[in-house]
């Protein structure tokens, strides 16, 4: 088991607290199966370019920090770039701190870590140049809800009322129809955002997202794409049975 980054500094009244879904992502990304997949894909031999790892919706930063901290164990190389995006500015700041705390602990033990370029405040992948991301990780707002909370506006507001905090928190879990409205938008951006040669994505789904239907949709993207469930929470009952699907380009040279 690889250590989980500390998030004790995070203000959970306005930032999603690491929960079962976060830990399923950590377990899946560090599973033997995924380490093998990622190490084959991103092997450091032959001087392949440093992979860029993006997490969308970093929240506390526990997942991105985990990937940054354990890049050598998981990807088989320490020269990995990591970047985070969140619509919540407090989450962006918290992620930065979570990554830095974990990096300092590793450095103190003489262990390697990836290179964190920073966090950006933004809506999904809208601020990114096409074709740059090699590994995208997304723990979406996946809970079905009557409506989607509106995004914070570009205008800066420094006030943090109880309502603001509630809305930021709601943005981290409320997913609209089938809990899929935000995930659908993210999926639609993958062909543009993921790198042509090596792009792959890990996306968390719950049972109410109708994962089989989601996977069928991705299969219809046609040649050059594949999708597979690579991690599950293993529960059979309850409405929030979780799974991680890996979506990847298959024409890796």
């Amino acid at each position: 088991m690889l250590p989980t980054p500390s998030t004790s500094h995070v203000a959970f009244e306005r930032i999603y607290e690491p929960a079962e879904d976060s830990y399923l992502l950590l377990d899946t990304l560090s599973s033997e199966n995924e380490k093998l997949f990622l190490q084959n894909r991103f092997r450091a031999a032959s001087h392949s370019p440093s992979p860029l790892v993006l997490e969308v919706g970093t929240g506390s930063g526990v997942v991105l920090s985990f990937l940054n901290a354990h890049s050598e164990v998981i990807l088989g190389r320490p020269d990995v770039l990591t970047i985070g995006i969140d619509v919540n500015k407090f989450a962006c700041k918290a992620t930065e701190q979570t990554v830095i705390v974990a990096q300092q602990e590793l450095t103190a033990q003489n262990l390697s870590h990836g290179f964190y370029v920073g966090n950006v405040l933004g809506d999904l992948t809208s601020s990114l140049k096409a074709g740059e991301v090699d590994i995208l990780v997304f723990n979406p707002p996946y809970v079905p809800s009557p409506e989607l909370p509106s995004l914070p506006l570009g205008e800066d507001s420094t006030q943090t009322s109880f309502e603001d905090d509630s809305r930021l928190l709601a943005l981290s879990y409320a997913g609209g129809v089938d809990g899929m409205e935000t995930t659908e938008r993210l999926l639609a951006s993958l062909p543009e955002i993921l790198s042509q040669q090596r792009g792959c994505a890990y996306i968390l789904l719950c049972a109410q997202n109708k994962p089989d239907k989601v996977k069928d949709g991705i299969k219809r993207w046609g040649a050059g794409w594949a999708v597979e469930t690579v991690g599950t929470s293993g529960k059979t009952g309850g409405w929030e049975k979780l799974q991680i699907v890996r979506v990847w380009r298959t024409d890796v040279k």
Binding site: K93, F115, D123, S127, L128, D156
Partner: protein, 127 residues
């Protein structure tokens, strides 16, 4: 955010995506801070092939860094050029933008950077 981030970012306005002037974004009134980071030649060497060199030339010059050569060094050239390695180390790995803004060359929208976080959330009229 590290200066390197500018090599991955573009204007969030949909209509700008297809224009060549929306990348790279142009730093404006930026405050820079420098972290001290141990030399990491492997990282620089493996970042190099994925960098949009022309965009980096623009970014470096707009931030007041020494002028970069017109063509990126090859891996071998970089390995044997201590000065270039050290300049890239400073520019790509150590330098952070803490305050200021990033401006789109196409639509002119300014993305504010506060405490090292660039804000790409768009106001209603641009969404």
């Amino acid at each position: 955010m590290k200066v390197l981030t500018l090599n991955f970012l573009t204007c969030a306005v949909k209509a700008c995506k297809s224009t060549s002037t929306s990348f790279p974004l142009h730093p404006k009134d930026c405050e820079l801070v420098s972290d001290t980071i141990e030399p990491n030649a492997l990282l620089i060497l493996n970042i190099l092939p994925r960098i949009d060199w022309n965009a980096l030339i623009t970014t470096a010059s707009e931030l007041g860094f020494p002028t970069l050569p017109a063509l990126p060094p090859t891996r071998d050239e970089l390995e044997s050029n201590e000065k270039m390695m050290s300049e890239l180390h400073t520019l790509l790995l150590e330098t952070q933008i803490s305050e200021g803004s990033l401006v789109c060359g196409n639509c002119g929208h300014e993305y504010k950077i506060k405490e090292g976080i660039a804000n790409f959330l768009l106001p209603n009229h641009l969404v």
